[in-house]
Assembly symmetry: C2
């Protein structure tokens, strides 16, 4: 006899635990090998579940991928959302760059996951880029432009400033293998000092 109530959608303890396991494993594997380079078996092995069991929770490989992307997106954008128009521009940019760099050092897999997705044409998050991300960037561009108009920081096309910040900070995760090969594992604080100087020294207002 069918239930009268609609599908409860409440999640079992087991469900929660296993979905966690799967998504954690999936982030690890997808960020290392990319979407095509990752096999469902790999994710299953890493998560400790059997393949059919894994596919009981996520019916298709693509569903796992999308879930991982979505779960990571929010955290990834948080620092930019937090840019405060009221605060001191240089201090605020310093805070933003610093937070982004910490993110890179603490969650390099997340960075690589996005890098790979975008590198291959953003087939799964194109809509997100043209929608929410574009809107967020535009609002922050307006903030920066106002700072510039008030003469509080040097005048540069704001989008390029944002792209440069993204580029430099994420580089330490995305190209980490290269960096390690060339100059060894970078020290976080030395990196922070150098990156902040390079990106911001030119932003101080010209008196």
């Amino acid at each position: 006899m069918p239930k009268v109530q609609a599908a409860p959608a409440r999640k079992t303890r087991i469900q929660n635990r296993n979905e966690q396991l799967i998504l954690d494993a999936a982030l690890e594997v997808f960020s290392s090998f990319g979407y095509r380079g990752t096999t469902v078996d790999q994710i299953a092995a890493r998560s400790g579940l059997s393949k059919p069991n894994l596919l009981y929770y996520f019916r298709r490989k693509e569903d796992i991928y999308l879930a991982v992307l979505e779960r990571t997106l929010e955290a990834w954008l948080a620092p930019l959302s937090a840019l405060d128009p009221g605060a001191d521009p240089i201090a605020e940019l310093t805070r933003y760059i610093s937070a982004k760099l910490d993110m890179t050092f603490d969650r390099p897999e997340a960075s690589r996951l996005f890098a790979n997705e975008i590198l291959h044409g953003a087939p799964h998050i194109g809509k997100f880029l043209r929608g929410p991300l574009k809107a967020l960037v535009e609002s922050k561009v307006a903030v920066i432009r106002r700072w510039m108009a008030e003469g509080r920081i040097a005048a540069v096309e704001p989008v390029h400033l944002i792209y440069s910040i993204w580029a430099v900070t994420q580089h330490y995760a995305d190209f980490g293998v290269q960096i390690e090969a060339v100059s060894g594992k970078p020290d976080r604080e030395s990196t922070r000092r150098a990156v902040l100087h390079i990106l911001l020294a030119g932003m101080r207002p010209v008196r």
Copy 2:
């Protein structure tokens, strides 16, 4: 009856033409889909050859990939090799950044090919990174350090300056899809102006 002379290794006209076709097609496809995401059929179709014919020239998929990587490496490093210790530091860095940016705009596929390779752990060029690239960077770091010691540019850890330049310039190719989605196709000269300002304004010597 076997030839007395050793394998001549001289290349036929047809050989040259077809290897060109294959490598051009392969760069296109590999840079779009990555190593694992690319199928031999795709390369064959794009180059206009049949799959068995393609495999007559390169016996394994990996051989094609390696050939493309190798062919692209040299051009990719040329600008850095050209850093002239004798010239004016700021002018020289300007020239380098500008050349790197042109490379990014003119050959984005090359940039994406490397980005993908490194993102996935540089399984094919690890030796190159730890050898020739490391050596080249170290020699240029020495040049920049001298400039700093002479007070001709601001003092920042030179490797980080180099990484920042790589990051920002290559970003316009590797993350091109994202940039286009957020702020439209970037104009080369506006980009050049902004990037040069952001990266170099802080490098001017403090009087």
